[in-house]
């Protein structure tokens, strides 16, 4: 099967999956108690029947259930993600406004964890049983087991409050009006704590997986054969072991990439990062259905895309793998 056929097949399947997800999301969200009109009235500390009626009419909640579903699906077919009456903005605008911050954060965390994790894992495998292996394994275990919010708050207290090295919250220095390079540096400073915090868990995961995978491959017959043929040690590790051992890591990276959007709710909350994870969380608490559905849809679309991309990477890393549609 050639690449074009493979891609076409996957795309058709992806669209069908997205449609199913869209319907399912709608049904699931409506199953939760409460509605946006009640939440808005509740937050205001005052309401009467007329206000609730007015709000429900605005949110379209006075329409029959199936009509609401139909309006929602029809909108999506024309790439209209709806309107947030709570925030008085089209949902697409809200998402596009927040997406760059999230991609920056999760992208940085992704790179850091992938590079650091794989390197640590490979190092640990080569030094198996030595003290550096023990150190890496122990660190990986600690990062793996420590709750994210605890790391987030402790890093704020240590690095922002006690040492004063980096800012504790936010995306950039508010009111400083930096532009160009100084703005980039400013954002970079703000990025350090949240991206490291978010990346730690996956760093640990990659390290453990890379180490285990490399040790497994290192004992395989073809590696013994290579060694017997007199191939040099570094070459054996690089060409024969690492290349074969990295496949499970690619799978994991595909999973993490799928979470690039919407996977950082906690980190964004603790670090006041103006990303899409928080947008989703706020929308959930406030039952802002259209925003919630919009974020769900965009992140599902990303997951589908990254799954396809992961399959392509498999083929590049290991050409023996056939791209089955």
């Amino acid at each position: 099967m050639n690449l074009a056929q493979f891609l076409a097949g996957r795309l058709v399947k992806g669209v069908l999956v997205l449609f199913a997800i869209a319907v399912l999301n709608f049904l699931l969200i409506r199953a939760a108690p409460g509605d946006p009109a009640q939440v808005l009235a509740g937050e205001a500390g005052a309401a009467d029947a007329q206000l609730l009626e007015q709000l429900r009419a605005r949110f379209g909640l006075d329409q029959p259930f199936l009509t609401q579903l139909w309006i929602y699906l029809k909108g999506y077919l024309s790439f209209d993600l709806g309107f947030s009456y709570r925030q008085q903005q089209p949902v697409l605008n809200l998402i596009m406004e927040r997406l760059p911050a999230t991609l920056l954060l999760t992208g940085a965390a992704f790179l850091v964890s992938l590079v650091a994790g794989t390197a640590m894992g490979a190092l640990a495998a080569r030094r198996a049983g030595k003290w550096s292996d023990s150190l890496i394994t122990a660190l990986a275990l600690i990062f793996y087991a420590t709750p994210l919010f605890w790391i987030a708050l402790m890093s704020q207290i240590v690095f922002a409050l006690k040492l004063g090295l980096v800012p504790n919250v936010g995306y950039e220095t508010i009111g400083a009006n930096y532009t160009g390079l100084s703005r980039a540096l400013d954002i970079g400073q703000h990025l350090i704590l949240p991206s490291l915090t978010l990346g730690l868990f996956f760093t640990a995961l990659y390290a453990r997986m890379m180490r285990a995978s490399m040790l497994e491959v290192a004992g395989a017959d073809f590696v013994k054969t290579a060694r017997a043929k007199g191939v040099s040690q570094p070459r054996v590790w690089r060409r024969h072991v690492a290349r074969n051992a990295i496949l499970p890591v690619v799978t994991l990276a595909g999973l993490q990439a799928g979470q690039l959007v919407g996977g950082a709710v906690l980190t964004e909350t603790v670090f006041a990062w103006p990303g899409i994870g928080r947008l989703m969380f706020d929308a959930l608490v406030q039952r802002d259905y259209s925003v919630l559905l919009g974020v769900f849809f965009v992140s599902s679309a990303m997951v589908v895309c990254f799954n396809i991309a992961t399959d392509l990477v498999y083929r590049i890393v290991d050409p023996r793998i056939e791209a089955h549609a």
Binding site: G42, A160, I174
Partner: protein, 518 residues
Amino acid sequence: MGLRFGLALAASVFALGMAQAQESKKGGTVHVVVQPEPPMLMQGLNQNGPTNMVAGNIYESLLRYNEKLEPQPSLAKSWEISPDAKTYTFKLQEGVKWHDGKPFTADDVVFTLDKFLREVHPRWRPIVNAQVEKIEKVDDLTVKITLKQPFGPMIMTQEVASAPMIPKHIYDGTDYRANPANNTPIGTGPFKFKEWKKGSYIHLVRNEDYWMKGKPSVEEIYWQIIPDAAARAVAYETGKVDVLPGGSVDVYDVKRLSKLPNSCVTTKGWEMFAPHAWLTVNIAKGGPLANKQFRQGMMYAIDREFGKDVVWDGLGKLPTGPISSKTRFYSADVPKYTYDVAKAKELIKASGYKGEPLKILALPYGETWNRWAEAIKQNFADAGINIAIETTDVAGWTQKASNGDFDLTFNFLYQLGDPAIGVARNYISTNIIKGNPFGNQGAYVNPEVDKLFAAAAIAPTDKDRQELYTKVQKLLVDEVPVLWLLEMDFPTIYRCNIKNLVTTGIGVNDGFRDASKE
């Protein structure tokens, strides 16, 4: 020559010093925490806590209220109440302009009170519909409100969140809720809306054309949105923010933060709201909850001092009844409930309670409320009440509380300056309405209470009103339709170099008009 030069130099240095001294009094940027992010800033359409906190600096109302809740001039420079207490004449300030440059006139006032707020404001609507005969323009700077009957709390209805002035030229004849101007609020206030970076901050700048000469002093306000309470505390400690309005940080952080160098704290500025916390008892469910002796027993069973001292870290004050001691018409002359397990057991036994299982619906507003629920559950268990805690998220709570789907639930409500506006609503039988979590949710019915509240609202003098409110307080405290727990305190923590931040009964909500940074 040399001498003259030297003198001139000294003079100019002196002059420069003077100029600098004067400049340092004016200007400066203040960073404030706002939490959660407000849904919008158009205060006429939305009265959420965070909306009011920011928008109170953009919009203005006819009156302001000081810490003693006495009316002060704002957009109305003076007012007159006719001897029969039925006509209110407001004289407006001269030279007031909307942020877009158009003049503010009596037409705007009439439009706001008679049309706009009547249609959209759930607190103003019942007042204007039930009490007001007509609202008319006398001349460009005079407005007359004629009442159907004397209405004691009328003079307390003009706080900025309750009656913000709305520009007629922007809203008249439009669909108010869909007006695109809702995203760029136009008021008459000391600060103008500049930018809202969703998820990060709201930026307000000084209104250079403000009608009060020389005010405001602060140049810019950034309202920062930081969702995590612990991160807000660290942001204050590291100097990222200067003001933590009441409720911004966990209660157990308040003492620590207010002891930091250059840190000031005040519990003032909440007199208008005077939040009163209680457990609503669902009397409509019948069974033990409908029994007065059982309710009194619950009241004796709760260690309210413990709640205040441990759960709320000593903040607040124990209430004696339905009316907060911070507002008008409070009376201490009521039956007292102390923590007394023996007496609680006795009353509960006498009520005929046979161990029917009950539930407390917890309020999903953070850890403090969960701990409170745990503490009270233990108190109830000690007194022999078979009780469990039920949890839910905010939307779920609102729905359950609105529909009377609970046995006991926490709630806390603002008193809004007058019992007729902020207190009566929780106890009168006409306010047993589904869909609203802030009415008489326990469905308490007592014709005597209805009568007293109705009479007190329209009684001609404050003395008459006090008499009626004293009576109703005594009656309610004996009946215990809800279990009053705490007059809540929400201290504002701020850097000491910010002066005059809290000058009125609504504190930070309109605080930056008078504030300055040194």
